[in-house]
Symmetry: C2
Subunit: 292 residues, 2 copies
């Protein structure tokens, strides 16, 4: 049972967590913390939070569980604002999609890693954002990755696992480095490919004609290039080490493929395409639908 | 009016053309030519063709319009089989998704480019293939690109335009080089990105775990990597010049992006992502749905 939950951000991710915990009867009081008054008033009106403050220190002071749903680029400031105001046994977790940077921001701001800090990443979301888009079942059957630090206490880890399980999620533990590598491969890199494909076509001469002939596959393929540029800037900066390595690996793969095409080496092309098709058919179609 | 139409291949693309022309009352007799007896019997049963032969020479002999829907890798053999059997005023067109290679195959096989040859590319299709998947409305409001050669007669070009218009399609003319460049950019390159993304992940250690965490965006993004490896081998070999150049351009764009990420240059990243998002939102969402 959570006596007082503080959610920092008050959007889709933490709003859905709040709704799910409320519905599960897991929480007594929910305090929202954010900047926009209209958004926070809306959150109260929707019953997602009970009351709110614009002050992070105020929000975390009496909270026994704190959930950070601010953009990766705002994590450092948020941790700094918490400094000296955390209860000794406070549980802190977050929803950032890169983990090494959040942990580094926490350590730099507080001077240490609290034993109650359990970094996390819910692999869930929708195309909509904002607290009005939040709903209690967002996390049902979704994966949550927790990446405990060297300082995380077993009790805190267990508590955060139970919180997510109460929302219907499947919880997995992973090392920080492994999380950042897996996400670089499966989410961050594909976004880079889509952004740079659209950008490189937009920069070609006669690009309006190019886009006019873009077929259905192209539309599906580039849909993720319509994601928030600010969020993706933050993710790239936060996960630059793992993502930079993944991009190097990919660029060398593409360079080899380009050479194979220029040589007209049909046998090698068939081998690459068959391996890719088999991998995709085998792995991906077995996975239940889960928007990023 | 077409007295005798010969369709070579007898699958989704030429089957749909046959159905549409039949429905428009544009054709008296349709002869199918292909290898598989079962498929051809099915095409007769469905009323797509009136009769069939396995022999290309036989099929084209008395035809006034010939439509080639064979894989790009089979074009050369098909033109060779036609040699010496074409009627003087025969109209020949095709559905190949690269055009320079088809024209080259024709010239090499026949020793000249017939004035009745009008290379074409319908930008239409579905996820299904085979004559059973064909339907009369496939080309309605779809774009057809015609790329006349230096030898194409104005009469033949007009005739092929009218044939496609009778199917409800919008016909555009384009130079061969421009067609191959536009298609390399909007269709062939995206397929290469998807194939090589899936392949590079499949080759990583612990790839089953990588795929397990692949989110919804990844699935959309890599759907086209489940396309036919044989068809894509043929397309890559046929369009290797334009596609090779497009890949070089893309690789240098990706290399610049990788450097920007490694430097953690947030301002430049924001600029790239914003430009891509604007281009996609502006161009793509205005386009009516048209599967590749």
């Amino acid at each position: 049972m959570i006596r007082r939950l503080a959610i920092i951000g008050v959007g889709l991710i933490d709003g859905s967590l709040a709704r799910a915990l409320r519905q599960a009867g897991m929480v007594e009081e929910i305090i929202g913390c954010g900047r926009g008054k209209d958004n926070l008033d809306k959150a109260v009106e929707l019953g997602v939070i009970d009351r709110y403050t614009h002050d992070v220190a105020e929000a975390v002071k009496q909270a026994d569980v704190i959930f950070l749903a601010v953009p990766l680029g705002a994590m450092a400031d948020t941790f700094r604002a918490m400094k000296g105001h955390l209860a000794d046994d406070a549980i802190i977790t977050d929803g950032g999609s890169a983990k090494a940077s959040v942990i580094e921001d926490c350590r730099a701001a507080l001077g240490y890693l609290p034993s109650g800090f359990v970094p996390g990443h819910p692999i869930a979301g929708t195309e909509n954002s904002g607290v009005e888009a939040s709903f209690a079942t967002l996390y049902q059957h979704r994966r949550i990755i927790l990446t405990p630090t060297s300082e995380t206490s077993p009790e805190a880890l267990l508590r955060v696992e139970q919180i997510w399980q109460a929302c219907g999620a499947e919880v997995t533990r992973m090392s920080v480095e492994h999380h950042d590598e897996v996400l670089a491969a499966t989410s961050h890199l594909p976004h880079m490919l889509a952004f740079s494909l659209v950008d490189s076509l937009a920069r070609m001469k006669a690009n309006d004609e190019i886009f006019r002939y873009a077929a259905g596959g192209f539309r599906d393929f580039t849909r993720i290039a319509s994601s928030s540029p600010v969020m993706w800037r933050d993710i790239c900066v936060a996960n630059r080490k793992a993502l930079g390595e993944m991009m190097d690996r990919y660029i060398s793969e593409m360079t080899e493929l380009a050479d194979t095409i220029k040589r007209g080496d049909g046998d090698h092309l068939l081998e690459i395409f068959s391996r890719a098709k088999n991998a995709r058919d085998r792995y991906i179609d077995g996975i239940s639908d889960s928007p990023e």
